[in-house]
C-alpha cells in the first residue's frame, strides 16, 4: 500500500482519533439531550465523523472508493434529514411544551 507523500504528513490515526471523538460526542449527545432537533444534529455529527473516517481511509489506502462512499452517505444523510424533520414537524406541530422526545410515549409497554 504505497502512501503517497504528497498529501499531509499527519498519520491517518490522528484523523481517525478525531473522527472517533466526534462520533462519541454525537452519540452521547443523542442519548442525553431531550430536544428532538438537537438529537438530530448529533446524528449529523456522527455522520460527519463517519465521513471523515472514510476520507482518511481513502487517503491511507490510496483508494478513491472511500470518497465515493462519502458522496453517497451525504445523499443518504440529506434524505434522512428531510424525512426526519418532516416527521418531527408532523408530531410536534401545535405542541405547546416544545419538542421533547419523552412526550411521545404512547407505545409504553
Amino acid at each position: 500500500m504505497n502512501l503517497v507523500a504528497a498529501t499531509t504528513s499527519v498519520p491517518g490515526a490522528w484523523y481517525l482519533a478525531v473522527a472517533a471523538v466526534l462520533f462519541t460526542i454525537g452519540a452521547v449527545g443523542l442519548l442525553s439531550r431531550r430536544n428532538v432537533l438537537v438529537m438530530f444534529m448529533c446524528v449529523e455529527l456522527m455522520l460527519n465523523a463517519v465521513n471523515l473516517t472514510f476520507v482518511t481511509f481513502a487517503r491511507m489506502l490510496d483508494d478513491i472508493g472511500g470518497q465515493v462512499l462519502v458522496f453517497f452517505t451525504l445523499v443518504v444523510a440529506a434524505a434522512e434529514v428531510v424525512v426526519g424533520l418532516a416527521i418531527i414537524v408532523s408530531i410536534f406541530r401545535g405542541r405547546v411544551e416544545g419538542a421533547t422526545a419523552d412526550s411521545a410515549n404512547i407505545l409504553k409497554g
Binding site: 499531509t8 466526534l22 460527519n48 465521513n51 472508493g65 470518497q67 451525504l74 434524505a79 416527521i87
Partner: protein, 176 residues
C-alpha cells in the same frame, strides 16, 4: 509542519463545535455550532486531498441541511431554552456517558489495528493524475453508476415523503 497546524486547527474547530452543539441551551445555537463543526471537518477533508468532498460538505451540509434545521426550528417555535441539566429519564445520562467513554476507548484501540474485513474495494487509486473531482466522477459514473441511480430515486422518495408527512389534514374541526 504546515500540515500539522491545519490538522490541529481543523480538529479543534470540529470538536469544539461538536461539544457546543451538545451543550447549547438554545437549539439555534446548536445549529450554528453544527455549522462550525462542518467547517472543521471540511478543513480536514481538504488536508486529505478530498477537495470535492470538502466543497460538497460545505454547500450541501452547511448550506442546505443546517438551513433546513433552522427553518424547522423557526416553524415549530421551539426556540425556548431548554433546561439542559434536567433529565427526566432515570440514569439516562450516566449510562450515556459511560457508553460514550467505552465506545471511544474501543474505537481508539481498534484504530491501531488494520482491521480488515471482506474483499478490497478497487475503485481506482486516489493518487492518479488529475483533479480529485475527475477521479470521483470517473469512479461514480463507471463502477458505482448503479448505486448513483438508486440514490437519485432515494432523493425523490425523500422529497415526496416529506411533503406527505408534513401535510396537515384539513379536517373540519381543525380551526387553527
Amino acid at each position: 509542519m504546515v500540515d500539522w497546524i491545519v490538522f490541529v486547527v481543523g480538529a479543534v474547530i470540529a470538536i469544539a463545535g461538536a461539544l457546543g452543539v451538545l451543550a447549547a441551551k438554545q437549539p439555534v445555537h446548536s445549529a450554528v455550532l453544527l455549522v462550525m463543526t462542518l467547517f472543521g471537518v471540511a478543513v480536514l477533508f481538504v488536508s486529505q486531498e478530498a477537495h470535492f468532498l470538502a466543497a460538497v460538505q460545505v454547500i450541501v451540509y452547511a448550506g442546505a441541511i443546517v438551513v433546513l434545521f433552522l427553518f424547522v426550528i423557526m416553524l415549530l417555535g421551539v426556540d425556548r431554552s431548554e433546561d439542559v441539566r434536567v433529565e427526566t429519564l432515570k440514569a439516562q445520562r450516566q449510562i450515556a456517558a459511560v457508553l460514550g467513554v467505552l465506545a471511544l476507548a474501543e474505537l481508539v484501540a481498534l484504530s491501531r489495528f488494520h482491521f480488515v474485513l471482506g474483499t478490497k474495494s478497487v475503485a481506482g487509486a486516489a493518487s492518479e493524475p488529475g483533479a480529485n473531482v475527475e477521479l470521483i466522477g470517473k469512479s461514480v459514473f463507471t463502477r458505482y453508476l448503479y448505486p448513483f441511480e438508486i440514490t437519485s430515486v432515494l432523493l425523490v422518495i425523500a422529497v415526496i415523503g416529506a411533503v406527505v408527512l408534513s401535510r396537515r389534514i384539513r379536517t373540519s374541526e381543525d380551526v387553527r
